[in-house]
Amino acid sequence: MNRSTSPFAWWRFVKLFKDWRVFLDALLVTVGVALAALALAVAIGAVLGIISTSRRKPLRAVTRVYVEFFQNIPLVIIAFFMFNALPYAGIMLSTATIGILGVGFYHGAYVAEVVRAGIESIPKGQFEAAHSQGFSYFSTMIHVVLPQTLTIILPPLTNQAVNLVKNTSVLAMISGGDLMYRTNSWAADKASYAPALVVSGALYFLLCFPLATAARAYEKRIIRAGLVTAATEEKIIAVTDSE
């Protein structure tokens, strides 16, 4: 046997490419869970974010509790809890559902913070101007505040999407069939961990890098267009720094 014994040896990569289907299927699971979790996170984040700018204290308190709860507990524990504890209460969720709910709830907290910071960055004068023109709170939000908010929170939201994609890898710990799980499984099964980790890392990169790049480009554009200042944008991104 004269071939290289290195963990990075080419023959190991060849072995992996022969099993490309395993990695493709796993990638599809990751993408599917990420998309559904993102939709959930945005829905939760939008509702809670808007509520958290309300003048009613009890409403604000509810969103605060939610945000603090999910920002200060590791996602792994949330996933383990749903996987191993909920069945004792008779709730048996599939691993894909756990991925969608766990990652969605978790990132929903971060999205809520982004939405809140975005709304708060809209100058107070605009609320007053709208009010003086006879706009109700609701129509002020719909016609004046939220459209502007959406523009300026898109970059930090995209950053959330990037983190969300990577965080779906929590499924690897509960045999979720995602890319990280199949990577570990294939690596251990074929005694070739290096190509598995390199290829899977590259696949995650391919998913995340375009998103991150687009977010940066868009951010530059809206700052140049004068729709938002760099300092405000920085401030909104900073609310998710605890991650």
């Binding site: 046997m1 290289s4 014994t5 290195s6 963990p7 990075f8 040896a9 996987f83 191993n84 504890a85 069945p87 004792y88 048996m92 710990m173 045999s175 799980y181 570990n184 499984s185 690596a187 251990a188 099964d189 074929k190 005694a191 070739s192 961990y193 290096a194 390199v198 480009a217």
Partner: protein
């Protein structure tokens, strides 16, 4: 923008080639006398299980490892240093044992590591020091009597465990279908069995015996034999030969038999 992407691609290529180069270099220059290099270092580094009763289990009260494989590692240290305490144990999992061997962080793996063709391409294995069979652990109240009752059920296995192949082959023979869920460690599989996430827990019988409690039982079925060997870095043929020599000696002179007698579970 284009420039930035180009720079990034260049940086990535550099990292990749650096990794490949270091990996290649190590292949060429292993020491002439593997055992004396361990002696010079003053400690033998062994990768062991920390969660397998009777083989390698970390006693969390005393913070000491116990089990047959631990005795084996100590005996190897005794051979090298004349002192069985000069061994450092590193707990390993399916995901870490290979990299730790390849980088030289540990000298050998003695951790219920089954010899199979695919693995011989990556590491050296000694003569088997223990042969076990794959078994199945189920909840007693589920009423399963053999593998045949597990048609359509889900079986928890460890990552990289050969039990998956063994059970799949047996299931094919019976004409039943089973699905598998892989976990990184045995306690995680037991937790999944307890929460009924999986219907059965399958791994080598001796390992299963460590997870017996009032609510579970091991089915009588025996599946394909698993040979445990001591794994060393593929390029370090000398160390492999030295280890193999001792293993065969201790198999012949009853040393292993004496160890096994200390652990009634195996």
């Amino acid at each position: 923008m284009k420039k930035r992407i180009l720079l990034l691609v260049l940086a990535l290529a550099m990292v990749a080639s650096a990794a490949a180069l270091t990996a290649c270099k190590k292949d060429e220059g292993d020491t002439a006398d593997a055992v004396s290099s361990i002696r010079d270092r003053g400690v033998l580094n062994v990768g062991v299980k920390s969660d397998v009763p009777n083989f390698g289990l970390l006693n969390t009260e005393t913070n000491e490892y116990v089990g047959m494989e631990i005795d084996l590692a100590k005996k190897l240290a005794l051979e090298i240093f004349g002192d069985e305490t000069k061994v450092k144990f590193t707990p390993v999992t399916a995901a870490t044992r290979g990299p730790l061997l390849d980088t030289g962080d540990i000298d050998m793996v003695i951790a219920t590591f089954t010899i199979k063709p695919e693995r011989l391409e990556s590491w050296n294995f000694s003569t088997p020091y223990y042969t076990d069979h794959v078994g199945i652990l189920v909840k007693t109240d589920a009423g399963y009597k053999s593998l045949a009752d597990l048609d359509g059920k889900s079986i928890g296995v460890a990552q990289a465990a050969t039990s998956r192949d063994a059970i799949q082959a047996a299931a094919d023979e019976l004409g039943i279908t089973v699905s598998f869920q892989e976990f990184a460690s045995y306690p995680e599989i037991k937790a999944a069995l307890d929460s009924k996430r999986v219907d059965a827990f399958s791994v080598d019988k001796s390992i299963l015996s460590g997870y017996l409690d009032a609510s579970v039982e091991i089915l009588p079925d025996d599946f394909s034999p698993q040979d445990y060997g001591i794994a060393t870095k593929l390029t370090n043929k000398e160390l492999a030969a030295w280890v193999d020599d001792l293993v065969t000696t201790w198999l012949d002179d009853g040393t292993f038999a004496a160890w096994r007698a200390n652990y009634p579970g195996i």
